[in-house]
């Protein structure tokens, strides 16, 4: 057998060598940091302006690696080490809410020192201040946020307003895709059932699963996808789908027919969070970086490039100077109204998480 993977602050103590080692290993999703091409010694090279600025100001050398492609996959990569209380070689890793929640539950993260995070304390948008899984933001700091909703191709279909239409409209049959991540999709199924995704029962979840099952059985849904839906949408392989806001902004630059809608049932708000894993020896350095990106100007610099929702209060104003065309983009700076309506998925304990994942997997076929 294998022992429990749970760790506690007592069972897994990490040293902090930040005072002597001015380095930081940062694992992030690809294309999730502002880039710029410059000429250097006659050759074009790509640099990360904001990160470079951080390095200059802090004197910390950042080893920035874009090796998070998928939450579950990444979990597989680090779970052995974290369960064993061994180093992962990373100081910051950026993971989505539900995965961050799991890490918190398992005790695999280092508690952050709030006193080192004045900008975060001051500028984190209020809607994100207290997620169900990390009430006091003791372990996590949002990097970027985004909305999950519906996208459709206006050239190929008439307006799609709700998940209900997505699952039942006959003209969409076989031309609809949903996201393959359980939390994304089930949040809307729960809303359709009239349940509160932030507080629901096993029974409600069961009904939501049944509804999804029905739609799949009917052949309404063509595929459950990751990011590939974007291509399918452009190509016309699907005409309407569950989608993430940041992707749709990208598509809209090129193809104005692609529309993003806030479904009648509601919106989902998620964030990818910076986390410091156990055995990281540079927590203080990590905190410096977190705080750096909560400076509104730095945040706006980042947002102007990645186009996701900026979780930093004051960035919208700072954006004026950086790219005024984006200041009023509802998908980057949604109104606090929109944000207030947005839902989050309830934090789950390990057993429940596993059970829900199983039920969902059974429906989508894997």
């Amino acid at each position: 057998g294998t022992p429990a993977a749970k760790q506690t602050a007592a069972s897994c103590v990490s040293k902090d060598l930040s005072s002597t080692q001015k380095t930081l290993h940062f694992s992030n999703w690809p294309l999730y940091l502002d880039e710029k091409k410059i000429k250097q010694a006659g050759k074009k090279v790509t640099v990360y302006p904001s990160l470079a600025k951080f390095e200059r100001e802090s004197g910390i050398k950042v080893d920035y690696v874009t090796d998070v492609n998928d939450n579950a996959e990444f979990f597989g990569v680090v779970r052995n080490q974290l369960a064993d209380c061994q180093p992962t070689g990373r100081d910051i890793m950026t993971l989505t809410d539900w995965m961050a929640a799991r890490m918190v539950n398992l005790g695999w993260l280092q508690k952050l020192d709030k006193t080192k995070l004045p900008n975060v304390e001051a500028n984190l948008v209020s809607t994100l201040k207290s997620p169900s899984w990390d009430k006091g933001r003791d372990y996590s700091v949002p990097w970027q946020s985004g909305l999950t909703g519906i996208a459709y191709n206006a050239k190929l279909t008439k307006e799609v307003r709700s998940f209900d239409e997505l699952l039942t409209r006959p003209d969409l049959k076989g031309k609809v895709s949903l996201l393959s991540e359980m939390h994304d999709t089930m949040l809307f199924m729960l809303l359709l059932e009239g349940a509160d995704p932030e507080d629901f029962t096993d029974a409600e979840f069961g009904q939501a699963i049944d509804r999804l099952q029905k739609a799949t059985d009917a052949g309404q849904i063509r595929a459950f996808t990751g990011n590939e839906y974007a291509q399918d949408l452009v190509k016309g392989n699907v005409v309407a789908c569950e989608a993430w806001s940041g992707d749709i902004i990208q598509l809209q630059f090129d193809n104005p027919d692609i529309k993003f809608v806030a479904p009648e049932e509601g919106l989902a708000l998620w964030s990818d969070n910076m986390l410091v894993p156990n055995k990281s020896e540079h927590r203080a350095n990590a905190e410096k970086l977190m705080d750096f990106y909560y400076d509104p100007v730095n945040a706006a610099t980042l947002a102007a490039w990645v186009n996701y929702i900026c979780p930093v209060e004051g960035a919208q104003q700072a954006m004026e100077k950086i790219d005024s065309s984006l200041v009023d983009n509802q998908l980057i700076f949604p109104s606090s109204d929109t944000l207030a309506k947005a839902k989050d998925f309830m934090g789950l304990d390990e057993k429940t998480e596993q059970s829900y994942q199983k039920q969902f997997a059974a429906v989508i076929g894997a």
Binding site: A72, T216, E353, A366
Partner: protein, 267 residues
């Protein structure tokens, strides 16, 4: 050998052990060794159809790969002359672009509004609503494509060493082109053919990326199941049990196949 023992035998033993852990364990509580052979029963029961689908898709893809690879390997071995090496590299060169890029290209080629589908619709092979993408056709096409070099290269290596004088002798003994192929070339290339089918079938049966990118959950193979059990559902015992079943099934089939093909020397 030591290499294999360290990097393969040890993990395999661990895998078998995991497949017998308590299915009710979790990361929270840990997994106890309870010798739960029922994990296998459950795996077989619950994932019967992806299992069968894996074997079916892999089988069909292997068959198609043989049909495509044989003429190619044959031409390279016997007809290419000094272009031999060049053509060999042509076979493998497409695989130096990235897997994902290739598959995305396939997605484009097979997309609902792409020329292939349009052509097939015009020929009434596909209905007006018919599609290729997100069907088993696309998955099998992808599998076939991606494992083709694994068929071509061993076949080539085996064909290349055939003594042409034997084929001549066959022709002299009234075997026409096809018969001498069937009775002489084919049996003599058997080691290559068997190796090729193994190199294609085995990884194809365990593959999940083609099903994931070109298919839908209806086309999911056992690889997708294991992937999901392992990474998403975190049901390690079930994942291990499925893996062990897959490995055993393949080993049994390989043994049977190799015996039938009369190429025991490959074992």
């Amino acid at each position: 050998m030591l290499w294999l023992v360290i990097f393969f035998v040890l993990p395999t033993i661990q895998l078998i052990a995991t497949s017998l852990y308590d299915p009710n364990g979790s990361l929270d509580t840990g997994y106890a060794m309870t010798w739960s052979f029922s994990n296998y029963w459950h795996a077989l029961q619950q994932f019967q159809s992806p299992f069968l689908r894996s074997l079916l898709y892999a089988g069909v893809a292997t068959g198609l790969a043989v049909l495509l690879a044989y003429p190619l390997a044959y031409s390279i071995a016997f007809k290419a002359g000094r272009w031999k090496n060049f053509m060999l590299v042509l076979v493998i060169a497409p695989f130096f672009t990235s897997f994902l890029v290739r598959t995305l290209a396939w997605k484009s080629i097979l997309s609902d509004n792409g020329f292939v589908v349009s052509a097939l619709q015009a020929l009434h092979i596909l209905g007006p609503d018919g599609r290729l993408l997100a069907t088993s056709v696309a998955v099998v096409t992808g599998l076939t494509y991606n494992f083709l070099p694994f068929m071509v290269l061993p076949l080539y290596a085996s064909l290349e060493k055939i003594d042409l004088r034997l084929i001549e002798a066959g022709k002299d003994l009234y075997a026409n082109g096809f018969t001498s192929f069937r009775k002489i070339t084919l049996p003599l290339s058997m080691p290559g053919l068997v190796a090729g089918t193994l190199l294609t079938f085995i990884p194809a049966a365990g593959d999940y990326i083609n099903a994931e990118l070109l298919g839908t959950p209806r086309q999911y193979m056992i690889g997708n199941v294991i992937d999901s059990l392992f990474l998403v559902q975190l049901d390690y015992p079930a994942a291990a049990a499925c893996s062990v079943v897959l490995m055993l099934a393949i080993v049994v089939m390989v043994l049977f196949y190799v015996r039938r093909a009369g190429t025991e020397e490959l074992l």
